[in-house]
């Protein structure tokens, strides 16, 4: 006997969906939208992302990626220089020349993406116009699109949201007489896509497109019979644009954990008119596996207090998973941007006293985190080591964006990502650093190298 599929939202509980949200407008210690290029450029195998920006943008890209260049990356930066800004060089002509050079070097590129940055936005460089002009010039070999990943408008994952939004207008139209089709929006690891595809096959949902697509020419159709399931919770603008093209957007949980994945697949199956008993049969084993896999970490995670710093907008969904399936206590859910409409199903499942914070004032949030004495702080790379040096366990949040965490088969991996730092601390029998790693002892003596030697 298979377990019945849980209703998407149990009862009419409101959870913390009506709770007041702390909105902060201080220092935001977060990445800008350019950073999402790091996964987008690998997802789209024939696209090149050209940031039109400054040396800072280029430096960000290589530093945030945390890696050097193993294969030639399909991203780069057109660095604006003094002569461009002083008007000595026409910026559009310069850009055309840069693009010509780039496409000559990379004839395999089918889609060039111009990405706006803080400086290009501030000087109001019109990249959409440039994209149109360049598209006309390089068609049919390569089409050119533009979006903004600037840090004055976007935070981290919002870059992907803007990119997909820019693609929506190019999607071919489906008519009202076409059979329903499904768009799964949000970049997923290839392995996760393949798993979902198998489940869709099993329940007879055969017209499925993943968006972004692996190849730039495989654009999904969109029309009044299109159903959109968000695989990532940060796609508010994309959803709105798809809605504008007639599609209906599912309101459901993000597919994290057994519960989230089941709710997500059920909502899709219902909307697509698929056979729910076939779904139930197809997911019976995966659901059991997911529960078992998460249970393996429950002893480590249960009753642990978690504090989320804002990073990727995944935070409300992650908090729900950890609360509902791993038994964590959620102290604060910081998120760079709270898209109420799509976060609602998640918030309803969190306890009413969960503290939700949108935006950031990083110093105050650090004060709050210290006062709360959580067992685990989920934060970015700028804050992790300083917390650890003070004996505060942390989970490195960027890893959550760069790991396959969706779906049944990854539920255990997702729990493990949070359990690992806690288990590691139990294992290690080495002391904390006594001082800033840089101030160290002179070899053989006990004196510090310092200004006052």
């Amino acid at each position: 006997m298979s377990a019945p599929i849980d209703p998407v939202i149990a009862g009419e509980a409101l959870g913390c969906s009506e709770a007041p949200v702390l909105r902060e407008r201080g220092q935001h210690e977060v990445f800008c939208g350019l950073t999402s290029i790091i996964w987008l450029h690998r997802k789209l195998q024939d696209a090149f992302f050209l940031v039109v920006g400054s040396r800072t943008c280029a430096h960000l890209m290589q530093s945030a990626a945390g890696v050097m260049i193993f294969a030639e990356p399909r991203f780069g930066t057109a660095i604006m220089e003094e002569r461009d800004l002083a008007g000595m060089a026409d910026m559009h002509e310069e850009l055309d020349r840069t693009v010509d050079r780039l496409l000559a070097r990379r004839p395999d590129i089918r889609m060039l993406v111009l990405v706006g940055s803080c400086p290009s936005e501030v000087i109001k460089l019109d990249l959409s116009r440039a994209a149109q002009r360049l598209s006309n010039k390089h068609t049919p070999d390569c089409r050119v699109v533009a979006y903004s990943g600037s840090g004055i408008e976007t935070t981290f994952t919002q870059g992907e949201d803007n990119f997909l939004t820019a693609l929506v207008e190019d999607l071919p139209a489906a008519s009202a007489s076409d059979a329903p089709n499904l768009i799964v929006a949000g970049a997923l690891a290839d392995v996760v896509e393949d798993q979902f595809q198998r489940l869709f096959d099993a329940v007879g949902i055969d017209d499925v497109s993943f968006f972004p697509m692996r190849n730039s020419n495989d654009l999904p159709r969109v029309g009044p019979n299109t159903v959109v399931a968000l695989a990532q919770p940060y796609l508010g603008a994309t959803a709105k644009a798809l809605e504008g093209r007639g599609a209906s957007i599912l309101s459901t949980l993000t597919p994290y954990g057994e519960e989230g994945t089941t709710a997500w697949l059920t909502a899709i199956s219902e909307a697509m008119g698929a056979d729910l008993s076939a779904l139930e049969a197809a997911i019976e084993m995966p659901r059991q596996r997911a529960r078992k896999a998460v249970d393996a970490y429950r002893a480590t995670l249960e009753d642990k207090k978690l504090f989320f710093f804002p990073d990727s907008q995944l935070e409300p969904s992650l908090a729900r998973f950890l609360y509902r399936e791993a038994g964590c206590e959620i102290v604060e859910v910081g998120t760079p941007f709270l898209h109420r409409k799509y976060a609602q199903p998640e918030l309803k499942l969190l306890p009413a006293d969960t503290h939700i914070a949108e935006g950031q004032d990083v110093d105050r949030q650090i004060d709050r985190a210290r006062a709360a004495e959580p067992d685990l702080v989920v934060c970015g790379m700028g804050l992790g080591n300083p917390f650890e040096a003070q004996d505060q366990a942390t989970k490195w949040s960027i890893e959550l964006v760069f790991s396959p965490i969706q779906g049944y088969e990854q539920a255990g991996d997702l729990a493990e990502l949070f359990a690992r730092p806690l288990r590691r601390r139990e294992k290690l029998a080495v002391p904390l650093p006594a001082d800033d790693g840089r101030r160290h002892r002179i070899f053989g003596t006990s004196r510090q190298v310092g200004g006052a030697v």
């Binding site: 800072t56 280029a58 030639e72 057109a78 850009l95 101030r439 070899f443």
Partner: protein
């Protein structure tokens, strides 16, 4: 507009941030959008600092642009001073805020701050990281020493010096400082202040009390050292003690300025490098071709070590640091090669391929290039990577630095007898072009090394890719030139019997010889005539 996939230097405000993060009691208020906060991870992740760098970003947003970004700056600045209580605050703008022209320096003045505010004007669209670090350090030193008078310094102890230039995120600066402080103290020379690394504003104000300055990193400290020279009559020790010869010169130069005896330090130095290099097993290092690229100081020092102390042949040298290009140009002239003055990593890669080195000394970027080409490589310069902050003591400067360099640069090379065996028994089926030196097997990680002969066709080893690239480059030249030189099949086959690590050189020499002698195509005889002509 410059197309960049990889940059050797960040923007100038990152240089300023490095200086701020090096020091104690300084806070930097940077007018910048939220994305610029990525710079924190350079310190917390790459250098693994236990503290956040002392910086507050204003993180203004698009919606603020119409209203008042200046107010946002003022609020952030006041709050940062109140919260962090620094002895001095640096104020400036990153590239985006520079376009807003809010004038952080002027705004800070209106705040009536309880501590000095030092305005930084760092033109983001013209300058880069090292320039920004140098300018910031200079402004801080001017700010805290500016009021003092040089002629009041009459009774400075002769043996008291400052060390200027080391910074956070500098290549091995942490251990270099330890090594040089230890060396100076062993000579009876006292160190007054080390700056910027670990100095406070109060320490900076004490700089004029020393008799002379030791300039370890000209990229960051040169402007300041020159100013201190002019203002306080402090001479500068300019020899950067990287390598045995330079360290010995450094000791003599310091001894003369400090009025101490150089002999004990010269005699008692724990220099193993020199003997290792003289020992017979190092014979195989003779005239190995090495390509060098990095910041100017490390590149020039490396070239001297390679040429004079390891007996290598410098086959290329370059730098991304245009401000110091002159030093690299004169070094290039000395070694008879064309300098590569460029921050375009693709240009550097092309130069490496053209130079056909047997060893590459470069930055992390060249390490990747060398990996792709199947060449041994060691890192000698910034930009830094987490691996450039080793847990062990690992200086580049002084005698211990030279010992570290010997190990680091010689280790990636094929060992002497192994090289001979590969040369003698080329046709042993277990030797293939992908065969790695046995002591490096752990680093192999690729398709080669363990590949059985039959598997070779499936996966092209790195060195074959190198050979392919080399041939492609040659073909390009030949297309452009009707008098192209051809190889007979027999000669080409013979050439393949030469081990891959010298094959490029043999090919190039043979073709140069053939062109000179007007012999075309290249036959077996041409090949061996050329070998006799060039020798090794």
């Amino acid at each position: 507009m410059q197309l960049a996939v990889w940059t050797y230097e960040g923007p100038p405000h990152v240089g300023a941030l490095r200086v701020a993060a090096s020091m104690e009691g300084v806070h930097y208020v940077l007018h910048a959008p939220q994305g610029d906060t990525y710079a924190d991870l350079l310190f917390t992740m790459i250098e693994r600092n236990t503290k956040r760098p002392p910086v507050t970003y204003t993180t203004f947003q698009a919606r603020d642009l119409g209203s008042d970004t200046a107010e946002i700056f003022k609020k952030a600045c006041s709050e940062a001073v109140a919260r962090f209580n620094p002895q001095a605050v640096l104020v400036g703008a990153s590239c985006t805020a520079e376009l807003l022209q809010d004038d952080p320096g002027g705004l800070a003045k209106t705040l009536d701050l309880p501590v000095p505010a030092i305005p930084l004007e760092l033109p983001s669209y013209m300058r880069k990281e090292n320039w920004g670090a140098a300018e910031t350090f200079y402004q801080i030193v001017r700010g805290f020493c500016g009021g003092q008078r040089g002629d009041d310094m009459g009774n400075r102890p002769r043996n008291l010096c400052n060390i200027v230039g080391p910074t956070s995120l500098g290549f091995r600066n942490r251990d270099d400082v330890t090594e040089i402080v230890t060396l100076l103290e062993s000579m009876g020379v006292d160190v007054n202040v080390v700056a910027p690394l670990s100095a406070s504003p109060a320490d900076i104000a004490r700089l004029p009390q020393a008799s002379f300055n030791v300039l370890l990193y000209p990229e960051v400290g040169d402007v300041t050292a020159r100013w201190l020279e002019r203002e306080f009559g402090q001479p500068t020790v300019r020899t950067v003690p990287i390598g045995v010869g330079a360290t010995r010169e450094f000791i003599s130069e310091v001894a003369e300025l400090a009025g101490v005896d150089a002999a004990p330090a010269l005699e008692n130095g724990h220099d193993r490098f020199s003997w290792y290099s003289r020992s017979i097993d190092s014979n195989y290092l003779t005239n190995k071709r090495v390509f060098i690229y990095g910041d100017a100081t490390h590149a020039v020092a490396a070239a001297r070590i390679c040429s004079e102390e390891l007996g290598f042949e410098v086959c290329g040298i370059g730098t991304y640091a245009r401000e110091f290009a002159r030093d690299v140009r004169s070094a290039a002239k000395k070694y008879g090669v064309d300098p590569v003055i460029s921050d375009d990593h693709l240009e550097v890669e092309d130069a490496i391929i053209a130079a056909q080195p047997e060893l590459v000394l470069g930055t992390q970027m060249e390490r990747h290039v060398a990996k792709r080409l199947g060449l041994p490589c060691a890192v000698i310069s910034s930009p830094v990577h987490v691996q450039d902050f080793p847990a062990r003591y690992s200086p580049q400067m002084g005698f211990e630095g030279a010992n570290v360099i010997f190990d680091t640069w010689v280790h990636p090379l094929m060992m002497g007898l192994e090289e001979h065996l590969l040369g003698m028994f080329r046709e042993d089926f277990e030797f293939n072009d992908g065969a790695e030196p046995s002591h490096l097997a752990a680093h192999g990680g690729g398709s080669h090394g363990k590949a059985s002969p039959s598997a070779q066709n499936d996966d092209q080893p790195a060195v074959d890719r190198y050979a392919t690239m080399e041939r492609d480059a040659l073909k390009a030249v030949q297309r452009a030139d009707d008098g192209a030189i051809r190889w007979t099949d027999e000669a080409e086959t013979e050439l393949r019997k030469i081990p891959f690590f010298v094959r490029g050189k043999a090919r190039r020499n043979t073709e140069a010889y053939a062109a000179n002698e007007g012999r075309n195509p290249i036959t077996l005889d041409t090949l061996y005539d050329a070998k006799a002509h060039f020798g090794r």
